[in-house]
C-alpha cells in the first residue's frame, strides 16, 4: 500500500473529496495536507479506508463513516463522525460541538477535550475522550457509551434516554433525568478493556457511570416545571 498526498488549501471541497475517494479506491493510504480547518472533509468513507488529516479540520469530518480508519492530527470542528456506522476516528486535539452526533457504531477517540453535546442523539458505538467532555454531554442519547477520563462539564448526560456516560474525574453538574449508578465489575472490565486497546488502561479510574433516570420516558405535561431550566 502506497501513500497518496492530497492538498486542500482553497480548492473546492467536492473536488478534494473525489480525489480522496479515488486514491482510497486504489488501495492507497491517504495523507491530507493544508486542511485549513475546512468543512466536510472525508465524509462517507468506505470500509478499510486509511486516511490521516495533517492539521485541523472543520465541520462534519468523518461523517457517515462506514468503516474507515481516520486520524486527525489536531482539532476537529462541529459534528465530527456524525451518523457514523462503523470504523474508527482518532482526534489528537480538541473536538468541537456535537462530536459523534447520532452515531450508530464504531469508535471515536479524542486526546484533548470535547465541546458541548458530544454524543448527542447517539444510537451506538463508543466515544472515548481523554480530556473533559463539555456541556450537556450525551444529550438525548439513546444507546452507546461516552467515556471521559478527565471530568465532565455542566448538565452532564442531560435528558439521556438510554446509553451510558462514564466519567473519571469531577462532574460539574448532572443534567435533567440522569443518575449516577454503581457499575458492575463486568461493566468496568468492559470499559477498561476498551481503554487498554487504546493504550489508556489504568485500574485506578474512579468511575461514575451515568444512566437515564427514565422519568422522561413517560412525560406528563403537568410535570413540565420539573424539566424547565429557566
Amino acid at each position: 500500500m502506497s501513500e497518496v498526498i492530497v492538498t486542500v488549501k482553497d480548492r473546492p471541497i467536492r473536488e478534494v473529496n473525489r480525489e480522496i475517494k479515488a486514491a482510497l479506491a486504489e488501495g492507497n493510504k491517504v495523507i491530507v495536507r493544508d486542511t485549513r480547518s475546512r468543512h466536510n472533509l472525508g465524509v462517507g468513507l468506505p470500509p478499510g479506508a486509511d486516511i490521516r488529516f495533517e492539521g485541523s479540520v472543520g465541520y462534519y469530518c468523518g461523517g457517515l463513516n462506514d468503516g474507515a480508519n481516520i486520524e486527525v492530527e489536531r482539532n476537529v470542528g462541529w459534528s465530527c463522525g456524525e451518523a457514523m456506522a462503523s470504523g474508527e476516528i482518532l482526534v489528537n486535539g480538541y473536538a468541537g460541538m456535537s462530536l459523534g452526533a447520532s452515531m450508530r457504531g464504531g469508535l471515536i477517540h479524542v486526546k484533548g477535550d470535547a465541546g458541548p453535546r458530544c454524543g448527542v442523539a447517539m444510537k451506538g458505538g463508543d466515544i472515548v475522550v481523554e480530556g473533559k467532555i463539555g456541556y450537556m454531554a450525551g444529550f438525548m442519547s439513546h444507546a452507546g457509551r461516552i467515556i471521559a477520563l478527565s471530568g465532565a462539564g455542566e448538565a452532564c448526560a442531560d435528558s439521556l434516554w438510554g446509553g451510558e456516560v462514564w466519567v473519571a474525574g469531577p462532574i460539574e453538574s448532572l443534567g435533567v433525568d440522569s443518575k449516577v449508578v454503581e457499575p458492575s465489575s463486568q461493566e468496568i472490565a468492559s470499559v477498561e478493556k476498551l481503554l487498554d486497546e487504546l493504550g489508556l488502561g489504568d485500574n485506578s479510574h474512579q468511575w461514575q457511570k451515568i444512566v437515564s433516570a427514565q422519568r422522561l420516558w413517560h412525560f406528563e405535561s403537568r410535570d413540565a416545571s420539573a424539566w424547565l431550566m429557566i
Binding site: 485549513r36 480547518s37 470542528g77 468541537g96 460541538m97 463539555g134
Partner: protein
C-alpha cells in the same frame, strides 16, 4: 445562520483587509448583507458620522436638513460630506462633524427629523459600513480593504425573521453612545417583550431586526453606569434566545454567549493581536500556520479583550 468576526491589531494596520478576509471565508453562512465596524485612529475632537440615505435623488436636501440640525446644536460639518457613487437608490454617506453641545439630544433630534438619512454610527473612531451582498461586493463598493485602523467587527447575514435591507444589516450602533457597536449571531426570542420595555423608557428602534435589540439593550445598561464587561455578563441572564455576540468600543472588545452554548466562537490570540470568528477556517485565513485556536464553546461565557495601549501614540 449568520457569521461574525472581530480583529484586533497592536498598531494601526490593514484592519479593513483582514475583516474582509474573515467575512469572505464565512460568506456561506449568509450573503444577504455584510457589514463592518471599523475603528481608525480616534479624533481628539469631532465625530465621524456614517449614515445611509434612502433616496439618492434627494440626498442634497437631506444633507441640508442634517446640517441645519447640526447648526441648531452648535455643530457643523468640519469637511464636506462624501458618499459612494454607485447606481443604487440608497447612498452611504460619511461626514465629519464638530462636537454638538449635547450629544444625546442632538442624536435624538437627528434620528427623529432626518428620516431619510439614517445614522449608522457616530464616533471619534468608529465607522459602520454595511450593505447588501457578500463581503467582497461590499468591500469593493466601499473600499473596506483600504481602511487603516486598530480593530473592528464584521458580520455576514442570512436573514431569517426580518427584512433584507442595507439599514437592517449588522453591525448596529448602540445609539447614543459614540463608538459602541455590536454584531450578533443567533435569535433573540424575547425581542418584543424587551423592545416594548425599552421603548417605554424612550429608546428608539430603527429596524425590526432582533439583533438591534442587543445594541439598544447595551445602551440602556451603559446609561445605568454598567461597563462593557458587566453588560455582557448581565445579558446572559436577562436576554432569552440563542446568541453569540461581539461588542466593541474604542478601548475594548468582548463577547457574550447564551446559556445553551449553541453558536460557536473561535479565536487565535497572539502577542496582543487577535482574530475571532464563528468558524475556525476564517481565523485560519489570517493566521496561516497551525496556531493554537481557543474554542469558546461553553455555556454562559463572556470575555473582554483590551485594545493595545499603542493607539494613543499612533
Amino acid at each position: 445562520m449568520c457569521g461574525i468576526a472581530g480583529r484586533i491589531l497592536t498598531a494601526p494596520g490593514r484592519i479593513g483587509a483582514d475583516l474582509v478576509e474573515l467575512m469572505e471565508s464565512q460568506r456561506h453562512r449568509g450573503a444577504d448583507s455584510t457589514g463592518f465596524a471599523l475603528y481608525g485612529s480616534p479624533l481628539d475632537t469631532g465625530y465621524i458620522v456614517r449614515a445611509m440615505a434612502s433616496n439618492r435623488d434627494r440626498l442634497s436636501s437631506d444633507l441640508q436638513d442634517f446640517k441645519n440640525i447640526l447648526i441648531e446644536n452648535n455643530s457643523d460639518f468640519i469637511s464636506d460630506p462624501t458618499w459612494d457613487d454607485a447606481d443604487t437608490p440608497h447612498v452611504s454617506v460619511r461626514m465629519v462633524i464638530k462636537d454638538p453641545n449635547d450629544f444625546a439630544a442632538w442624536a435624538r433630534q437627528a434620528d427623529t427629523i432626518c428620516e431619510n438619512l439614517e445614522m449608522q454610527s457616530v464616533g471619534r473612531s468608529l465607522e459602520i459600513v454595511k450593505d447588501l451582498g457578500g463581503a467582497s461586493e461590499v468591500a469593493d463598493k466601499h473600499n473596506i480593504r483600504d481602511f487603516i485602523g486598530t480593530h473592528g467587527l464584521g458580520h455576514a447575514r442570512l436573514a431569517t425573521e426580518s427584512s433584507v435591507s442595507p439599514t437592517a444589516s449588522h453591525p448596529f450602533w448602540a445609539r447614543p453612545f459614540p463608538d459602541v457597536a455590536i454584531v450578533h449571531n443567533g435569535q433573540i426570542t424575547d425581542y418584543y417583550t424587551w423592545r416594548e420595555r425599552l421603548e417605554r423608557k424612550g429608546y428608539r428602534f430603527m429596524t425590526y431586526n432582533d439583533s438591534e435589540l442587543l445594541a439598544v439593550w447595551i445602551s440602556d445598561q451603559m446609561s445605568q453606569g454598567l461597563s462593557q464587561a458587566q453588560s455582557l455578563k448581565k445579558s446572559i441572564s436577562q436576554i432569552d434566545g440563542v446568541f453569540t455576540y461581539l461588542i466593541s468600543d474604542i478601548h475594548s472588545m468582548g463577547f457574550a454567549k447564551d446559556r445553551w452554548a449553541i453558536k460557536p466562537l473561535v479565536a487565535i490570540e497572539e502577542n496582543g493581536q487577535m482574530a475571532v470568528a464563528t468558524e475556525e477556517q476564517a481565523v485560519r485565513m489570517i493566521y496561516l500556520g497551525e496556531e493554537v485556536v481557543n474554542n469558546y464553546d461553553g455555556p454562559s461565557m463572556t470575555k473582554t479583550w483590551e485594545i493595545g495601549t499603542l493607539r494613543k501614540a499612533a
